[in-house]
């Protein structure tokens, strides 16, 4: 798994590539925490290059969403979610908790 972060004027873009499972999810959780610790609460997660995500990854997303939404200071949104991952997120009821966008441009434009 690879993570890169890019700062925009109104939000931060976190690009996640590869596979997120119990071995790699802590790295994703860490990247999200480091954003929120720096006062960044408007986050776009770009999933275009994501091949796989287990519930360990879902947990990291949920923890970040809780932190970001607190005091209405921001939110985590998902962009370019691959079909299989979207289906698993839906099954877990996670599509109710995250706005999703077809592409990064519209996700960034949301903020």
């Amino acid at each position: 798994m690879e993570i890169t972060t890019q700062e925009f004027k109104h939000c931060d873009l976190i690009k996640v590539k590869g596979r997120v499972d119990s071995a790699t999810a802590p790295k994703l959780a860490q990247a999200l925490e480091s954003a929120t610790k720096n006062g960044k609460y408007k986050l776009v997660i770009d999933m275009e290059g994501l091949e796989y995500m287990s519930s360990a990854g879902f947990r990291a997303l949920l923890a970040a969403q809780r932190t970001c939404r607190r005091y209405n200071r921001g939110e985590v949104v998902l962009a370019a979610v691959p079909q299989r991952i979207r289906e698993a997120l839906e099954l877990a009821g996670f599509t109710e908790l995250f706005k999703t966008f077809d592409d990064v441009v519209s996700a960034v434009g949301y903020f």
């Binding site: 596979r19 499972d21 119990s22 071995a23 796989y52 287990s54 519930s55 360990a56 879902f58 947990r59 949920l62 923890a63 969403q65 809780r66 939404r69 299989r84 289906e87 698993a88 099954l91 877990a92 009821g93 109710e96 908790l97």
Partner: protein, 146 residues
């Protein structure tokens, strides 16, 4: 790290019970399911269910154990794949794990139990047997072809 035993009907492998081997575990079941004629979608879901099962074993059954072993076997028949995971760690009773409320608000959303929930949703059958006298726990998951 995996010892592979091959025959025509069934394939088995032993993995060190560590998260680092989840990739290999997913590849192992994915290859067999794909060769057994399952669709891409079914292969992904079989891999996800197996990952969740193995992750639970590593995290809970082998909690505090660094040299645990996970035995995995896959058997493809004409209409189904059967995946069996055996561990020698602490038994756990899945019926004691409450199903997560997947409709709950963000603030009330529980983190635990999601892996087991996904396994039950993605596979057609999930059975668990603990044999404490043999220090052996057996999780069996079956998915039928669509």
């Amino acid at each position: 790290m995996a010892e592979w035993l091959l025959n025509d009907l069934m394939q088995s492998a032993r993995f060190a019970a560590q998260f680092e081997f989840l990739d290999e575990i997913r590849n192992f079941v994915g290859d067999i399911a794909r060769r057994g004629g399952f669709s891409d979608k079914a292969v992904y879901n079989i891999q996800l269910a197996t990952d969740e099962a193995a992750s639970n074993i590593i995290e809970h059954a082998y909690k505090g154990v660094s040299n645990g072993v996970l035995e995995l076997s896959c058997d493809v028949s004409n209409d189904a794949i059967t995946i069996v995971l055996v561990d020698h760690g602490k038994p756990f009773d899945p019926s004691q794990i409450p199903a997560p409320d997947v409709k709950a608000d963000l603030s009330k959303r529980k983190i635990g139990g999601l892996g087991l929930f996904l396994m039950r949703k993605l596979m057609d059958e999930v059975r668990y047997e603990a044999h404490p006298e043999q220090n052996r726990n057996v999780l069996t998951m079956i998915k039928y072809k669509e």
